[in-house]
């Protein structure tokens, strides 16, 4: 096990968040009704969420030195966290993806998927505009034949 992992901006925020999440699930586990025996519905969730919380505490303890050695101000660390975890290309693509899923139902499979494919290829510079439009059509055709006719999947 490696012990010399350099500090990644935002790591302490994530670890604290995971600890809070574990404690939330632990609280929710205790709220599962009829907790009367060690084999009732809530017993195993309590055990698992306790393991999660203890693991998060262990991660915090193990990294306490690297976490405390971080000399960045809050604003600066947040900016570096964004650069590390959520660079522009990821954020924009996630928005495109969310928009595709949101409009897939109303627009139907063909239009939504074609626009998504062509837009994605153009945004990610996978091909020139004309090739992107042609490739999107070809990929769409391939996906349609594969799922509709070979795997008998009903597309929306």
């Amino acid at each position: 096990m490696s012990t010399d992992i350099p500090y990644r901006p935002g790591e302490r925020f994530l670890t604290w968040f995971l600890l809070a999440l574990s404690l939330f699930f632990l609280y929710e586990s205790f709220r599962i009704p009829n907790l009367t025996s060690y084999s009732s519905a809530g017993a195993f969730p309590i055990f698992v969420s306790s393991v999660l919380a203890l693991s998060a505490v262990r991660i915090l303890w193990r990294n306490r030195r690297s976490f405390s050695s971080c000399r960045l101000g809050l604003k600066e660390e947040l900016a570096q966290t964004r650069n590390l975890a959520l660079p522009n290309v990821v954020v924009i693509y996630l928005l495109i993806l969310a928009a595709y899923i949101a409009v897939a139902g109303p627009l139907g499979f063909f239009i939504s998927t074609y626009v998504f494919l062509a837009g994605s290829v153009l945004f990610l510079k996978g091909a020139s505009p004309v090739r992107a439009l042609l490739l999107a059509a070809a990929i769409l055709g391939g996906v349609y034949v594969l799922f509709q006719y070979i795997f008998k999947v009903i597309l929306w």
């Binding site: 195993f44 590390l84 994605s120 290829v121 990610l124 990929i139 795997f151």
Partner: protein, 502 residues
């Protein structure tokens, strides 16, 4: 004996059965390789249009898909780092680094050969040792399944991440996700927050596609400008020297695969992970460090997961208990055809047993043929610009997720888990333990609760059972040593012993 041989050769002498076995194997390879399509899903869909067929053609197609699909998962694991099936999770640990080094062809060739050898060994075990192994697996109590599942998660948690705590957290998170929805024992809702939609839980395929498919695509986006490594697929067949060097590892991995596969509920995924862990511990001089493209890290899981197929069929046919998810579906198919898998099946319908052995053998031969051909087409996948490849992966992932229940909400779950998996990956948490937790969670919980019920909900009784039974004691000790082996105490102790030895 003659009749057994006749039943064995049944699928070898009928052109229709040969064609169906071949078609099933080829389809299985592609189903296994395409992220978002699972062998379980394909076999389930197959049942819907083969139930009007005779039992033999239906089984020939299903066994072909099963055999090809378990192997096929390794292709996307090697080329895209997206295991097409849970059984291929461990194959990506060293398979993908090999592809990044430009050795995708060699990796696929090696995976194919290892899979075929493992497959043959599994089939031989099925044919020769079925009654013995089935009898042994009968001795496993629920607590043993719990220990086995914990070992699986611990193993992958300790192997694939930068710290054991992060591995345990990731595995625990997966187990927690598997508990969302209705409790199968009492019907109570858990972590549903009053939502009816959550009562049916979150389908593990949506989690798997999100955490492996979408999150990997998001990670790849960060390196969109980096030029792809040209894959060398000119030499696919591994050298005899390489195979001979790994012969002992192949045999040991196959034995692990057969043993684990024979345990009800534990299939190729655990077998592959355990054999990967075994290889990592036992191979002193790997070709490269594990995790950086060691051939041994690919050979071990690929041998084990295909060997587990023969193993998984043992309890299915002899006890009527599925060895894994696919055999559970196959049991459903046998019921549809009026057959009742169980101890009486081999007595009343011996032809079915030998037909199964013959079909699997034929499918394994087709696996070798199809596995070593068409690799160039697959290898071209990674030479395609990421700007073109990633949207395709995303669309296939979305359509595959939608296909689970024809539901858009599964797609939203997939996206959510994709983002979660991406963030966790950036900060050194691995995806493997999360998925393993999701898959093994129900088995663990069932093992725990049944074990507790066995001792009438007595906590001391539960712990006593962990050491009172010889079989359970072995598993408990293995788990304790696994945990201790990851601590500084153990490293210091070993250091001291070595110094004293000097």
């Amino acid at each position: 004996m003659e009749s057994a041989l006749g039943y064995f050769l049944m699928s070898w002498t009928s052109p229709q059965l040969i064609l169906l076995t071949a078609a099933g194997t080829l389809a299985g390879i592609y189903v296994g390789a395409i992220p978002g399509l699972s062998v379980t899903m394909a076999v389930s869909i197959l049942i819907s249009f083969t139930f009007s067929w005779d039992v033999n053609p239906g089984l020939a197609l299903m066994y072909g898909i099963y055999m090809g699909g378990v192997y096929g998962g390794s292709r996307s694991a090697i080329l895209l780092n997206i295991p097409g099936a849970p059984a291929a999770v461990a194959s990506g640990f060293d398979g993908y680094p090999l592809a990044k080094l430009g050795e995708a062809g060699k990796a696929i060739g090696l995976a194919t050969t290892a899979s075929v050898i493992g497959g043959f060994m599994g089939i031989i075990a099925l044919a020769l040792a079925a009654p013995v192994i089935a009898e042994f697996s009968l001795k496993f109590a629920p607590r043993d399944y719990l220990l086995l599942a914990v070992m699986g998660i611990m193993l992958v948690g300790s192997l694939s991440g930068e710290s054991l705590a992060k591995g345990i957290f990731a595995g625990g998170l997966g187990v927690l996700i598997s508990m969302i929805g209705m409790d199968s024992f009492t019907g109570q809702g858990r972590f549903t927050f009053g939502s009816l939609a959550l009562m049916s839980g979150i389908h593990y395929v949506a989690v798997m596609i999100g955490i492996f498919g979408v999150s990997e695509a998001l990670v790849q986006l960060r390196n969109i400008g980096i030029k792809q490594v040209k894959q060398d697929v000119a030499k696919i067949l591994p050298s005899w020297g390489l195979l001979w060097k790994n012969a002992a590892l192949i045999v040991k991995s196959a034995l692990i695969g057969i043993g684990i596969g024979a345990l009800p509920g534990a299939g190729g995924d655990i077998a592959a992970l355990l054999s990967y862990g075994h290889a990592r511990r036992s191979v002193r001089k790997p070709s490269r460090p594990f995790g950086e493209g060691a051939y041994e890290g690919l050979v071990a899981p690929e041998t084990a997961n295909n060997a587990a197929i023969g193993g998984a069929i043992i309890p299915m046919l002899t006890l009527g208990i599925p060895g894994d998810a696919v055999t559970a579906v196959v049991i459903g198919a046998l019921f549809i055809h009026g057959l009742k898998p169980g101890p009486m099946l081999m007595i009343e319908t011996p032809h079915l047993f030998w037909f199964t052995v013959g079909c699997l053998t034929l499918s394994n031969i087709f696996l070798l043929i199809f596995g070593l051909t068409g690799v160039r087409i697959f290898a071209k996948l990674v030479e395609v610009p990421k700007g073109l490849l990633l949207p395709i992966v995303i669309v296939i992932s979305i359509v595959g997720t939608y296909a689970i229940n024809n539901s858009v909400s599964d797609v939203y779950w997939m996206l959510g888990f994709g983002i979660l998996g991406y963030i966790l990956k950036i900060y050194g948490y691995q995806a493997g333990p999360v998925i393993l937790g999701v898959i093994l969670g129900p088995l663990m919980e069932e093992g725990y609760r049944r074990a507790m019920q066995d001792v009438r909900n007595s906590l001391p009784g539960f712990f006593w059972q962990l050491v009172a039974n010889p079989l359970t004691l072995v598993l408990t000790l293995a788990l304790v040593f696994m945990v201790l082996g990851q601590t500084r105490f153990w490293a210091n102790l070993r250091g001291r012993i070595r110094r004293k030895g000097c």
